[in-house]
Symmetry: none
């Protein structure tokens, strides 16, 4: 197909979405992915598990868009009717796809689980579909084409849907449609608000060439600056984006921790590996979230020793060696306690660096003197210990994630300023 | 209007939603609210800031639903075109609504802010609309009726939209329609796959009365069975749903951990509080995720002492007291190590119960004998220690979340079978 500006409709199927019983995170993600490869979403539609409604939605979407992405309704149970409705729509019938059956059989064999008749039926696909193997679950993806419209059917399980899109569907769509090259370059910042950032870089932003657009994507104390360049010459586009980055870095450098897919925890991992250093964590208010962030990185066992989640004062004293005097004089949420937690866990786990968090995540536990959102973090090194006071919000979940981001950033800055990083 | 079972379509307007630049939390909330008053959502639609697309969406929705709830596109900036499109659709024009103007003027006066011409124009409404005062922002709500279809237009700002719905729109809709009651009852299960569950309860599912529907909602090793009943007598409906629950419980009871909004970690919290017991965790492959789940519950400090994330063998030995012999003879991922980790952390943190996780989360570290996804979990009590082998998937993130679910479930079952729970 040679369509100058291809369009897409995203169709989700399931009563649970209409009734608001599950949060639909799929369609937002699909919207960004399609936009990124130059396919413009023109409509999002959700219908229930009702054959006629789904048929109507197929027909209407086909009149509006070049691509119809359908998610949901592919599970093994009887309330999932997408496949049968596709058959009706295309005037065909289901037949067992041997490739799909083999993959599903292997999926169960690997896990030493018995296949049921329902699982076998998951390999039954409309005769006119192109089978898209699902390596992440048991519901196959499907690709249909009719009257110059592409229909893609994916399971609703976010992880399976995203994997199928990323590895199978987006590449196919890209080489089917892509007319222009769309290139992204992201600058990852932390510790500066969106509006302050915007003010700082306003002159640079105003001077951006017309074919390079800027988006601010804030998320838990971080702001991602995403440059999107459109053109026809890949190399030239990369060069132009890189030039803009080098122009803005001198203005905001201190707040930049990485680029593109960099995350704080991956950047820290690289720093620690390069400086042959290790880290441990002592967490109170974050309750394991920091450890979870660090260990979310494959290979983190190379530099991460572990964590002590000291939710009670007893654990702070008995395991981390925080002194009773400190707790009684300054309280669990104090600079002194944060310091002793970091130094204590560094001793206990025998690591190069250690970070600690102690605070009032909420919703309860706040006082006039220490309201909800009061958090102390610390980072201990072989030579000294750095501390930082955070004054956060009223929401427990947000406070935990913000504290984790700031603690990891404190670690990052500490590693960078330490001799260890310099000597490499 | 006397419609036996009124239907609704929720229409959101804005490029930012289609392109995935913002998370749409409005439509899920609206879905639950409409369902609760017996108005059945039959479709959710999102269109961009394009006049023709919006006109088409109005027309299509009016052919499907008795009520069309429209959010977004009411801000003061020029890309917000909902009002003008309503005028075109109804063949009318805008005129300043004096009530609205007074309220907006007051809104700015209160905040000591200057009104711009753009703000004044927010008081300009289509002549045929019923003005719905917005006490929470500057964009008025609007109520239209044409050919027995109700159109409601609300600002997209979640807080304003929700306030307008709650105090103005839902009450009007409720007394307008002699609505049916829609009641939900969820059964939360864990440790049994969707298809196995479906086979087990097939006879029960087939025997469900026509006015009670069943949906399977799987998520990380759990499956939520959602019963949706429709009727006119609230008490009778509750009774009928409860009856179906009591019919199915004997079949799947061992897999049921709760109902409706129950989560594993909240259920465990209640069990621990009731048995005046405490718990600690020792985590290897889950890297703090279990601790994070448990501490995500407000008030968890009452029963949660803390966790040792023992990522390295040194920490397993030096902090948890796992014996070197065990690690050398059986390896870190073994039943013996899981057992010693649980017993060790229980001693260290001095808790009633303790759970441990050790496994190969992936993507690396797998062997022929212990492939990625091999996980041992254990739960220690004052009297004995229970262990369980898990054979999971190839994805690190999923393995961590599944392990956490199964470990929490092992704890739940252990508490239930312990004398502690019985004595209460």
């Amino acid at each position: 197909m040679t369509i100058s500006s291809p369009t897409a409709e995203v169709l989700t199927i399931g009563d649970e979405i209409l009734f608001g019983q599950i949060t639909d995170t799929n369609t937002q993600w699909i919207g960004t992915q399609l936009t990124d490869i130059g396919i413009r979403p023109v409509r999002k539609t959700s219908v229930g598990d009702n054959k006629q409604d789904i048929l109507n939605a197929f027909k209407e979407a086909s009149q509006r868009a070049n691509v119809v992405i359908v998610t949901g309704g592919l599970g093994p149970t009887r309330d999932d009717i997408t496949k049968h409705t596709f058959c009706k729509y295309f005037g065909t019938e289901l037949e067992i796809n041997q490739e799909a059956l083999a993959l599903i059989t292997e999926f169960f064999a690997k896990r030493g689980r018995v296949m049921t008749e329902l699982n076998i039926q998951q390999a039954a696909l409309p005769k006119n579909c192109t089978y898209i193997p699902n390596l992440w679950g048991t519901a196959p993806g499907m690709w249909f084409e009719k009257d110059d419209v592409i229909y893609v059917s994916l399971p609703g399980v976010p992880y399976e849907m995203k994997s199928l899109m990323e590895f199978e569907i987006l590449p196919r769509l890209k080489n089917r449609f892509s007319t222009q090259i769309i290139q992204h370059k992201s600058i990852r910042t932390i510790g500066i608000g969106e509006s302050f950032l915007a003010e700082k870089i306003a002159p640079w932003e105003d001077a951006l060439p017309a074919h390079i657009k800027l988006a601010y994507l804030p998320h838990f104390g971080q702001v991602r600056l995403r440059l999107t360049g459109t053109g026809t010459d890949q190399a030239l586009l990369d060069e132009q984006l890189q030039e803009q980055v080098s122009l803005v870095l001198p203005i905001i450098g201190e707040h930049v921790f990485g680029f593109d897919a960099d995350e704080l925890e991956t950047v820290i991992g690289t720093l620690l590996v390069n400086s042959q250093a290790t880290v441990g964590t002592a967490e109170s208010c974050t309750g394991g979230f920091v450890a979870n962030q660090i260990t979310g990185v494959p290979g983190s066992s190379k530099y991460y020793e572990g964590s002590v989640v000291s939710y009670s004062n007893e654990v702070k004293m008995n395991v981390l060696g925080v002194s009773r005097d400190t707790l009684e004089a300054f309280g669990a949420v104090s600079e002194q306690t944060a310091r002793e937690m970091a130094e204590g866990v560094r001793r206990l786990l025998n690591t190069t660096f250690a970070i600690s968090t102690t605070g009032i995540a909420g919703p309860d536990g706040g006082t006039a003197e220490k309201p909800v959102g009061t958090v102390w973090i610390a980072c201990a090194t072989p030579d000294e210990t750095f501390t930082q006071l955070l004054t956060l919000r009223n929401n427990r979940k947000i406070n935990i994630e913000l504290t984790s981001s700031y603690a990891l950033n404190l670690l990052r800055k500490t590693i960078l300023s330490s001799n260890l990083a310099e000597k490499n």
